[in-house]
């Protein structure tokens, strides 16, 4: 039972950037996704909302190639993706800021920034260490507004604050000039000012013509930046709203109802 069964991007958006159709995924006997449809338009900010265990992170893992779906198809710019791996999703232009930030904590900042996509001298595989460090410092200073003095790209990630770690994860998405940036619970455990930085980043991404999926279970943050909200519950899409059609209070009300009943009224 869909409240609003439009599997379509917001008005004014033509060709969708990503289209996921009828995605199923289960772990052992537990169904995590039960036929989910999900669409992101060009230059669209979508809020993916749902309680813990709704299947948000699983959906993203399927989209980014970390996990393989049991059933269903994924289209990128209208073309079906055949062999989906993390590497090829990053090459297509999908960057993810994962919930646990996907950092290697004992490695230093520059190594974390380029993890999985090192700057190398062509096909020799040897890393351009000096250039990577320079690029790292530029990124962190200019784009994330890292102002902490004494910050060097050789610093280990382990000692950084939550906001700084999130900054690195976001800088990574920035550097590779992704068309679709996925933020999985990006404001978890962040202070108010750090949260604002993340929200500003999403607004900046919109201005740059990028698309964004903002995943969260706290809708207060996402409401201010997203244009469309997709609600997941227990592996199903239960609702889809355009921001212009629903107030923050209205959305909260709907979510509370979903949490109780598993469907929308």
């Amino acid at each position: 039972m869909r409240d609003n069964a439009v599997i379509s991007p917001a008005p004014g958006v033509t060709q969708p950037l990503v289209k996921m159709v009828n995605i199923h995924k289960s772990y052992g006997g537990v169904t995590a996704l039960n036929g989910v449809d999900f669409v992101v338009g060009n230059n669209e900010i979508v809020g993916l909302i749902g309680d813990n265990g709704a299947g948000k992170s699983t959906l993203i893992k399927v989209l980014t190639g970390v996990e393989k779906q049991g059933e269903g198809k994924i289209y990128w710019k209208g073309k079906e993706i055949e062999k989906h791996t993390v590497e090829n999703s990053r090459n297509m232009g999908i960057e993810t800021v994962f919930q646990d930030r996907a950092l290697a904590e004992k490695q230093n900042i520059w190594r974390n920034l380029f993890m999985g996509r090192e700057m190398t001298y062509g096909r020799t595989g040897f890393i351009k260490v000096e250039e990577s460090k320079k690029e790292a410092i530029n990124l962190l200073k200019k784009m994330i507004g890292f102002t902490q003095s004494g910050l060097t790209p050789n610093l280990g990630v382990m000692g950084l604050s939550g906001g700084e770690k999130q900054g690195i994860a976001i800088a990574r998405a920035l550097y590779f000039d992704a068309e679709l940036i996925i933020l999985d619970e990006p404001t978890n455990n962040l202070s108010i000012s750090e949260t604002n930085k993340v929200l500003n980043f999403v607004k900046w991404a919109k201005e740059q013509g990028k698309s964004c999926i903002f995943i969260t279970h706290s809708i207060y943050h996402v409401y201010s930046v997203a244009e469309r909200f997709v609600v997941l519950d227990r592996g199903n899409t239960v609702g889809e709203f355009l921001k212009k059609d629903i107030s923050l209070d209205g959305l909260v009300e709907k979510l509370e109802y979903v949490a109780k009943h598993g469907v929308l009224a």
Partner: protein, 340 residues
């Protein structure tokens, strides 16, 4: 400029401290027996014996960085040495023997990696099994008998592997240094080395960022096999004889070299330079102790002391505590006065 030097020192404090330990050990040797340790002969001896354990230790370093373990390498080394000697005795062609032996090492490493990566058996456990299995195969294949390799003398490969360069420098020392330089470059400057670090640090994150952790592990275990074979060939050529016990005695020494070098069992960090220095320390202690006039009975005790002391230094370093402050704190805590 001064800042930069300071930073460099902080960054490489691990390497500097192991270098410090090496210097201290050799200064003590030189004081204990200046006649031996101020002449070239002893260093010549070290250069001919240390490379075998050093090459093994170098190949184990990425394994430890991955947070894994390999205990099968001494037996793989034994079996590859047998393959080398047996093929040479059959064909009289040292090149065929060399290639076959390395290939056997590669396959042994591949079998380990399949059992660890695909089947999912913890490496510590499965390599104990493989340790017995390969040693058993050496015994079955050789019938417990050695094989002579005297006829390899005079071949170019023999000279290239264990000859004496200019009559003075054992070739195996050059090989060990070359492998150390290559491994250092790969670990610190190559994409593959970076992937080893990521995989050992946080395999889940590495996977999410597109690192093929399984492939990395497979290659790392395979190179241990190849290095074990290479060390096996070197050691049999050096003594011109294959013994069925070839490889025994290298297990603890090689692993200890990795650990006193500063690579930790927790994975994610490690140093090739440290391992290389560690191997020199482990390989020279015994000769140093004996020639310093200390009774040979002290050897094991001093081995243990060096290992435990260096590990203690690293543990405090990783906590960013000075050794002195750390020790004072430990002593205070004994008396129940713990400060925050």
């Amino acid at each position: 400029m001064l800042e930069k030097i300071k930073l460099k020192i902080i960054e490489s404090r691990l390497q500097l401290s192991i270098l410090g330990v090496l210097i201290i050990v050799f200064v003590l040797f030189a004081i204990g027996n200046p006649r031996t340790f101020l002449s070239y002969r002893i260093y010549y001896a070290f250069m001919s014996t240390i490379p075998f354990a050093a090459i093994l230790a170098l190949s184990l370093t990425p394994v430890v960085i991955l947070g894994e373990m390999d205990l099968s390498f001494p037996s793989v080394m034994g079996f590859c040495a047998w393959a080398f000697a047996a093929v040479f005795n059959q064909t009289s062609n040292i090149y065929t023997a060399f290639v076959v032996s390395l290939a056997v090492g590669l396959i042994a490493g591949f079998i380990n990696s399949v059992l660890i990566v695909r089947v999912g058996i913890p490496s510590l456990v499965v390599t104990i099994g493989m340790m017995f299995l390969w040693r058993g195969l050496v015994m079955i294949a050789s019938g417990g008998l050695g094989l002579s390799l005297v006829k390899t003398q005079g071949t170019i490969l023999y000279k290239a592997l264990v000859g004496r360069i200019g009559g003075e420098v054992p070739a195996q020392a050059v090989w060990a240094v070359a492998i150390a330089v290559l491994y250092g470059l790969i670990l610190n400057r190559h994409r593959f080395g970076a992937h080893v670090l990521y995989s050992g640090d946080d395999a889940v994150s590495a996977k999410m960022m597109g690192v093929n952790v399984e492939r990395v592990k497979t290659i790392v275990f395979m190179q241990v096999g190849v290095c074990a074979a290479f060390a096996g060939i070197l050691v049999t050529l050096e003594v011109l004889y294959f013994w069925p016990s070839t490889g025994e005695g290298y297990l603890m020494k090689s692993l200890a070299s990795v650990f006193i070098g500063g690579t930790t069992v927790f994975g994610g960090t490690g140093t090739i330079f440290g391992t290389f220095i560690g191997a020199i320390i482990m390989g020279s202690l015994e000769a140093g102790i004996v020639s310093s006039g200390i009774s040979g009975f002290w050897t094991q005790f001093i081995f243990g002391l060096v290992i435990v002391l260096s590990l203690t230094i690293y543990a405090y370093m990783s906590k960013r505590l000075s050794l002195g402050r750390g020790l004072i704190r430990s002593i205070k805590s004994l008396f129940g006065r713990v400060e925050k």
